[in-house]
Symmetry: D2
Subunit: 367 residues, 4 copies
Amino acid sequence: MQVAKAAVLEEFNGRLGVREFPLPEQMDPGAALVRTVMAGICGTDVHLWKGQMPIALPVILGHETVGRIVQLGDGLERDWSGQPLNIGDRVTWNSASSCGHCYYCAVKRQPTRCPDRRAYGIGYRCDQAPHFLGGYAEFHYLHPHTTIFKIPDDLPTEAVIGAGCALITAIHGIERTGIAWRDDVVVQGAGPVGLAALAVAKSAGAARVIVVGGPKGRLELAKKFGADHTLDVQQLREPSQRIAAVGELTGGHGADVVIECVGTPSAVPEGMEMCRDGGKYLVLGHYCDGGPVSFNPHVVTRKQLQILGSWSSEPRHLQSALEFLRAHPQEFPFDSLVTHRFTLEQANEALVTTARWESAKSVIVAR
Amino acid sequence: MQVAKAAVLEEFNGRLGVREFPLPEQMDPGAALVRTVMAGICGTDVHLWKGQMPIALPVILGHETVGRIVQLGDGLERDWSGQPLNIGDRVTWNSASSCGHCYYCAVKRQPTRCPDRRAYGIGYRCDQAPHFLGGYAEFHYLHPHTTIFKIPDDLPTEAVIGAGCALITAIHGIERTGIAWRDDVVVQGAGPVGLAALAVAKSAGAARVIVVGGPKGRLELAKKFGADHTLDVQQLREPSQRIAAVGELTGGHGADVVIECVGTPSAVPEGMEMCRDGGKYLVLGHYCDGGPVSFNPHVVTRKQLQILGSWSSEPRHLQSALEFLRAHPQEFPFDSLVTHRFTLEQANEALVTTARWESAKSVIVAR
Amino acid sequence: MQVAKAAVLEEFNGRLGVREFPLPEQMDPGAALVRTVMAGICGTDVHLWKGQMPIALPVILGHETVGRIVQLGDGLERDWSGQPLNIGDRVTWNSASSCGHCYYCAVKRQPTRCPDRRAYGIGYRCDQAPHFLGGYAEFHYLHPHTTIFKIPDDLPTEAVIGAGCALITAIHGIERTGIAWRDDVVVQGAGPVGLAALAVAKSAGAARVIVVGGPKGRLELAKKFGADHTLDVQQLREPSQRIAAVGELTGGHGADVVIECVGTPSAVPEGMEMCRDGGKYLVLGHYCDGGPVSFNPHVVTRKQLQILGSWSSEPRHLQSALEFLRAHPQEFPFDSLVTHRFTLEQANEALVTTARWESAKSVIVAR
Amino acid sequence: MQVAKAAVLEEFNGRLGVREFPLPEQMDPGAALVRTVMAGICGTDVHLWKGQMPIALPVILGHETVGRIVQLGDGLERDWSGQPLNIGDRVTWNSASSCGHCYYCAVKRQPTRCPDRRAYGIGYRCDQAPHFLGGYAEFHYLHPHTTIFKIPDDLPTEAVIGAGCALITAIHGIERTGIAWRDDVVVQGAGPVGLAALAVAKSAGAARVIVVGGPKGRLELAKKFGADHTLDVQQLREPSQRIAAVGELTGGHGADVVIECVGTPSAVPEGMEMCRDGGKYLVLGHYCDGGPVSFNPHVVTRKQLQILGSWSSEPRHLQSALEFLRAHPQEFPFDSLVTHRFTLEQANEALVTTARWESAKSVIVAR
C-alpha cells in the first residue's frame, strides 16, 4: 500500500500538519488519480482556516488545483470538452459538481444551487478513504463525474492557478449581470476576484472600468490588467469621497454596472450609490457571511436598480476561462499573479501570506 | 375672471383649507382645462401631508384624477393613443412627464428617472398661475405635453380611480421584473399596490399568487382579486413564521418572484428569504424613504438573487392599464375599491380615512 | 416468456400490423415497464407513416403515452419531480431525453439539440429487445433515465393525451419567444399545436389571441379555448386578406407575436407580414421538412423582426404542462379533444382519421 | 441673397449636376446651418441613384456628413449629449429623427420604425426651401430637433465618415442581437457594414470573428480590423464550401452569432446554416429590397434559431459610435477607409467608384 502526504487542517486556527494517507489502490469507473502540480491558496481558504464557515474536520484544503493524471478509471476517456484524456496529461477541474436533475439543476436551471454540491478542498473529511480530496497534497482523487479539463500545452499552470476560482466566479457573475457594449463599469476591490472581474469586464465590451481598492501595489496590478482609472481607498477614505469620484468619472451619472468584489458588507450600500439610476449592481464578493449592514431599500426603488447575486460557477465557465487565459496572455497576465511559492510543509506560511495580503497569489508546489 | 375652488395643503400636518383661485383665461397651445370628476387619495398623499417628502407649499394634492375636458388649447386634437379629443370627453392622464431627450430618457431609456419630471399634485405650488395643478380641486389644468387618455364609455371612473397610480406602478415594476409562465409569486402587502400587483401577476401568467398582509378585510379583497393563498400578518406575527409558510406553499423552495408592496424597510430582508434560490425580488413599495434596515449581503450571493427596483411609470403603462381595466371588470373589480367618497370640503377626512386604512380607496368628488 | 401485442409500422404507407413480442424478463436498474393506458396519435405519426421522415423500420409508433407501472428497476423510487413511484401508478414521460453533459446540453444549454436524443415511438426499431419502445402497444418499456411523471389522481388521462406533445412543444416555444403582458398574439393554425399555443398564450398574459385557421369546427374549438377572434382560412382564402384582417384587429399595426402552428411553408412569409414592426415570429409548426418557400429577407430588416425556432421540449416543460392541465380543466378543456378512440387492431384507422383531420385527437386504448 | 452649390440627382441613373440654391436667410428656432466638411458616399446612395428605392426627385444625396456650424437658430445651445454648441464647431448628426411619442416610439419603443422618419439625403426634395438637406453640397441645413453631435478635436473627420452609417447600423443590430462573452461570430461581407460589424463584435466580447467575403483587399482590411479568420468567396465559391469551412473553424458546431452584411438574398439561407443550433442570425444588410430567395422554414425549427432584423439606428448609437471611434483609433482604423476623395463636381465619379467597389470609402470634400 502506497502512501502520500497532505497538509491537513485539523482544528480551526491551528497549524496545518503534514500527514500521510494511503493512496487509493484502484479507481472507480470514471474516477481518476492525479499528482498535484500546483495548488492555489484562495481567500476562502483563509476563512475556512479561521473557522468562519461551518465545515467538518479534518480536511485537506485547496479547491484550485492543477495536476497530472497518473491513473484513469474505466470509461474515463475524454475530458469535459471532449478532448482525449491520457496518463500524464496536465488537467484542472471544477471543485464542485451538480447533480443535473434536481429542481435547481433541471427545473430552474440554477445548477450552482444544487443541494447535492460538495466541493473538493472544503466539503470532504480526509480521515476517510479516498482521503485525497483537496489540493494541498501530493495527489488528488477525482470522483466519477468530476468535470475535468485538459490544459493546452501553451497555457502555463501559473495562469490557471493565478486566475483560480476568482476568474470563473467573475465569469458567471458577469454572465448573469450582463455588461452592455460601451458600459461604464466600477469594480470594488483589487484582490483576485476584483482583477478577474476587471479582465472579464474589459473583454466583454466595457468602455471604461474604474477599480476602487488598494493597497497601491494592487491598483498598479489593476492598471496592468487594463483598468482605465483606479481609486485608492487609502486616499479616499470616506465612502462619500469615492462615490463622488465615480460620479465625476462618469459624467455625473454613476456607472452602468458596479461589481462588488470585496466581501465587506459596508461596500454594498456604497456600491449601490455608485450606480447610475437604472444601473446594475452585482454582489459577487459575499461568498462568506460577513454579517449585516444598514441599508435603505428606498434607494433600490428611487434609483430603479437591478441588484444581482451569483454563486460559484458551472463547468462551462471553466471551459471559457481556460480559452480566455490562452487567448489573452499579454493583456491579462494572470500568470504573473503567482508571486509566492511554498512547499506542502509550508502550507501554513502560504495561508498567512494570503491572509495578510502580502502575496498576489500564494501557491503550494507539492515537491 | 372666473374662479374655482381647491383644497390646499398650506402646512404639513395642518388641515387642508378650501381656497379659490382664478381659472386660466386662455390655454397655451397643447394645453387643456378639465373639470374634475373624481380625485383619488393615494397613500403617498398621506406622506406628503405629514411632510415626509420634501415639497414646496402651498400645494393642491391629488395625482390620480379623472376629469371632463372644458377647454382645449390649439393643436390638442388627439389623446396620447391617437383618439380624437373633444370638449366633454372624460379623460385621465399621467401625473408626470419625461422630457424625451435627456441622458435618462434617450440614452439609457429610463424615462421615469428623467431629471425634468415634476408631478401634478406634488411638485407644483398653487399660489402661482395656473394654480390648478392637482386633483383636489374643481378644475385641473393640463400643461402642453401632458399625456392624456380618453376613457372609453364602458369603463367607469371608479375603476380608473380605484386602480389609481398603484396599478401603473405595479405594471411597470412587473414589466421590469418579468414573471415567467407558471411562476409562483408572493405579494407582500394587501393595500392598493399589493392588490394591483396581485392582479397584474395573475394576468401575467403566475401559477399561484400568495398575498402576505392584513387586516382581514384586505385579505378578503385579495381573495376576490384571485389570490390563491393569503397569509395574515396578524396571525403569523413573526417573519420566520411567514417565511416558513411561504416555504410550505412552494414545495419548500420559496417563490420564483416576490413583490414588496408594503413600504416598511423590515419587509425587505424578510421578502428576500421568501424567494427561492435564483429567484427575483421586486422592491416596489419604497416610494418614500422609510429609513434603513439591517440586511445581510451574503444572502444575495448565496441565494443568487435578482433584486429590482422600479420607479413610477410611463404613459404606455397607463394605456395598458386602461385597456386591462376594461377587459377584466369582473375578474379584477377595481371599481369596488372606491369605498369612501368625500367633497372637496371634506378633503381632510378623506386623508384621515386613508391614513387609518379605514377605506380601500377614498376619493374626492368635486361636487 | 410472456408476450404482448403491438401495432407495428413495417413499411411506409403500409398497413400497421399487430405483432407479438416477448416482454422483457427483467428490468435494468432505473428502468420500468408500464402497461399502456392510452396512446395519442400525433400529426407527426402520420408523417412517419408516410415516410416523410427518415426512420428505421420496423417501429412501434406512439410518443404520447400514459401507462400504469407494472415493474420498477432497482433504484427507481421517485419520478422526475420527486414524487414516490409505485407499482400501479399512472404515469407519463418525455419521449426523448438529453445526455446532460454535451456541448449542446451543458455548454450552450440547448438540451433539445443534444445529439444523443432518440425518441420513443420514432427512433427505436422494435425487432430488437426490449421491443416495446412506442405507445401503440400493450406495454411500454422505459429505459433508465427516462423522465417519468406520476399523474395526479384528479387529472384525467384524456387531458394528458389530448394535450399531447403539442402542449409541451408550445410551452417551450413560447418560453423561448416571450409574450409580454397584454401582447396581441396571432396563432396560425387550429390543430393541436395551435390550440395548445392559444391556451399557453392566453394564460401567459396575452391581451388578445387571434386564431387563423380552419375548418369551422376547429375554430369553434378555438373559441372554446378562449380565442378572442378567429379568421377562417376557407373564407379569407388569400394571404393578403388574412394579413389585412389581422391588421384591422390590431389597430393597423399587426400583432406583437405571431405563432406559426401549421407546418406549411407558405404560412411563414404570410405570418411575418402579420407581425407589427419590431414584433416576434415563432416558427413552431415546422417539425417536418415541408420544403422551401420564397421569402424576402428585406422584410426581416425593414420590419425589424425577431424570428424564433423551437424544437421539442425539456422535462421541466412536461412538469409545467401537467400542473397547468390540472389547474385549468374548465378554461382549457384538453380532455374534450379526445374525440376518437381505437383499439390496437384499429391503429390504421386511427392514423387515417388524424391524417384526414376528422378527429380533434385520435387515441389508441390498448384494451 | 446668398447662393451655394450642391450636386443634384435629377433623374435615376442620370449624371448628378451641380446646381445653385439660395441659402436660408434665417434659421427657425432650434435649426442650424453648417458648412459641409466632408460627405460620405454610402452604398445606399448607389441604390438611390439607380432608382432601386422609391424616392422623390430632385434630391441632394448624402446622409453621412460632417460640417462646421455657421449659424445657430434660437434656443440651440447644446448638442444632443449636452455639450455647448458654438459657431465653428465641427459636428455630425443623425440623418433621420423619430417623433418620440407615436405607437412605435413610445408604446413599443422601436423608434427607428416611427412612421414620421424622413432622412436627410434621401427623403427631401431639394427644389423647395431650405433646399440644403443632403450631404453632397457646400452647406447643410439642420431642421429643429436634428440630433447633432459635436465632434471632439482629437477625432478626425475621416474616422467619422469612414465609419459612416455602417457603424451605427452595426451597433444597433448587435445591440438587438446580443453577443455573449466569448461567442464565436461570423460576419458575412467585408464592405463597410461588414467591417463595422467586425469591429463592434470584437470589442463586444466575441472570442473569434470569421469574416466571409471578398475581394482580397477587403479581407486584408478585415484582418487589419482584427478578423481572426477570413474566408474568401472567390476561392470558396460554393455556399456548401463556406458552410463547411465555418464548421471546421468552430469545432463542428457552427457560430454562436452570424451577421449578414451583404444584402444579397442568397446569403441568408447560407448564413443560417453557418449558425450552431440555438444560435442567432442577424439580417443587417437587407436595407434595400433585393428580392426573394428560396428558404426552408424547417431549418428555423430544427436548428432552434433566433433570427433578427435591425433597421437604422437611434441617436444614442451615434453617441456611442463617436466615443468608440475616439477610444480605439489604432485597433479599428476607420479613418484609413477613406481612400478616395472627390469634389462636388466629381460626385458622379464618387458614386461610380463606390458602385464598382474600387474604394473602401469615397467621400466628397466640398472645396
